[in-house]
């Protein structure tokens, strides 16, 4: 397995927010993690990304336990809920940020950044500052900046939560395209049922600090706790009412 998370536990004061977290993920796969606000999703991602320390447990990435490594050495990138761009850098420099840290030659940086900018369909925006971009464009820059450093694992924390429905759909499609193009392994946290089903090769549901990973999408859909059945019931009910009213 590419990623193995074993027995991770985390408490803040007397409250245990992550309870015995265990799961595995294959390389180049995406695991959707569904959960309500405050269930421990963000803390889980931050622990895996090294931005929070677990109280116990192991995070094995490509055979190496990275639980005690600093974020710098993990090659795991955590993407915030908001499209958090560096406000003092333009689009090109935001995307080039990780490459500049590695002090790569200028020619290589220009070539790699321009290539990513083309993949993200941001050719005309490279000189613009973050405040001059739309929400969708900012989110694309945020992706590009993460992907360009070729991370071992990408952690996405409700990345499309603040976008309108149309932009959200386009971003979902773009993300799917990019994960294939750049062989990305990722954990995709969302509170949107449809998005969880669409984006994940594997699906998990988090509730009160416990993560349940499903064998397949059918098991996820049939589990009453996930709320999929209620959703189906709602739409079926609506459809029946419409049919009756037409007759």
């Amino acid at each position: 397995m590419f990623l193995e998370v074993k027995n991770i536990v985390k408490s803040f004061g007397s409250e245990q927010i992550i309870k015995e977290l265990n799961f595995t993920l294959n390389a180049q796969n995406t695991m959707s993690i569904l959960g309500k606000s405050g269930c421990g999703k963000t803390s889980m991602l931050k622990i895996i990304g090294g931005l929070l320390s677990p109280d116990a447990g192991e995070i094995i990435l490509n055979g190496i336990n990275v639980a005690n490594q600093s974020p710098k050495h993990r090659k795991i990138v955590y993407l915030y809920q908001e499209d958090l761009l560096f406000p003092h850098l333009n689009v090109f420099e935001n995307i080039a940020f990780g490459l500049r840290l590695k002090k790569l030659p200028e020619n290589e940086i220009i070539q790699k950044v321009n290539s990513i900018i083309a993949s993200l369909e941001l050719e005309d925006q490279s000189g613009k500052m973050p405040h001059q971009l739309s929400g969708g464009q900012r989110q694309r820059v945020s992706f590009g900046r993460a992907i360009i450093i070729n991370p071992a694992l990408l952690l996405l924390d409700e990345p499309f939560g603040s976008l309108d429905a149309g932009t959200r759909q386009r971003m979902q499609e773009l993300f799917k395209k990019l994960t294939k193009e750049f062989d990305i392994t990722s954990l995709f946290v969302t509170h949107d049922l449809k998005e969880a089903i669409l984006m994940g090769d594997q699906i998990a549901f988090m509730q009160k600090g416990r993560l349940k990973v499903y064998q397949d999408k059918t098991e996820f859909i049939n589990d009453k706790e996930t709320g999929v059945q209620d959703e189906i019931g709602f739409w079926d009910g609506l459809k029946s009412k419409e049919t009756i009213s037409k007759h």
Binding site: G49, K72, Y78, Y80, F86, H88, F97, G98, K102, R145
Partner: protein, 284 residues
Amino acid sequence: MRNKFSHIGLVFFVLIGVIPFAAAFIYALLYSLGIVGVLNSGFTLQHWQTVLASSEVFKSFGYSALVAAISVVISVSFALWLALKFRKEFDQKILSFIIYLPLAIPGVVAAFFTFQLFSRAGFFSRLAYQLGWINEVSQFPDLVNDALATGIIITFITIVMPFFVLLFLNVYKNERVGNLSELAYSLGASSKQVLWRVSLPVILRKTWTLIALYFIFLLGAYEIPLLLGQESPQMLSVLIIREIKQFDLSKISEGYAIAIIYTIVVSVAVSALFSRKNKTLNEI
């Protein structure tokens, strides 16, 4: 209705802010050109020629700019260090109260404290004597009314630095520098890279206008250089007031000429500063 209020506001601004300033400026200009004034007898450029030929004015300008620049650089550097290093500690009530305290102390009181603490007859001199570090007062370094303006710089830092700490803490929070730093770590940055590539550029980009305005404010400071400065060179405001208030009434016109030069230099600097700031805001 809203338009009416904005017009009244504009009238008040012109009445209180623009007209008195413009009247004072015109009066100073006329005085410096010999058109008004007790001993003046008509238009002359003599006072301006005397001022421009004297090295004292330019020395005073350079001296004031240097003292203000050193004070601002030290205050900003120290405030940045405090804000970034002890950010969480400043959330505590007592510390946040203590940092506000110096802001309530008037400049003249701060200068008096500096004099009491750092002069040769002051607290630290006596302490050094009691500890046996010095045998007589003259061995204590000249920290007040000295050529290096040590006393002035210490006092400027004391009154300005707390403001910068509060400003930087606020910008750190509003610009989400904490989250940006986490993101930079996640992208592979070291602590040093986070400081130089994220924290400092983000904070300074947001605050440089205020830093520049503080420099201008210190450039024209009066009470502190008056109490803690030396005879020559003097800081600008002290020099101007000295010229205007001295017994030789013919020197008053020269004092006004210096004041005009200072006003023009500062006005041009502020205009340049704000035209750039407005340009940035328009881009947003």
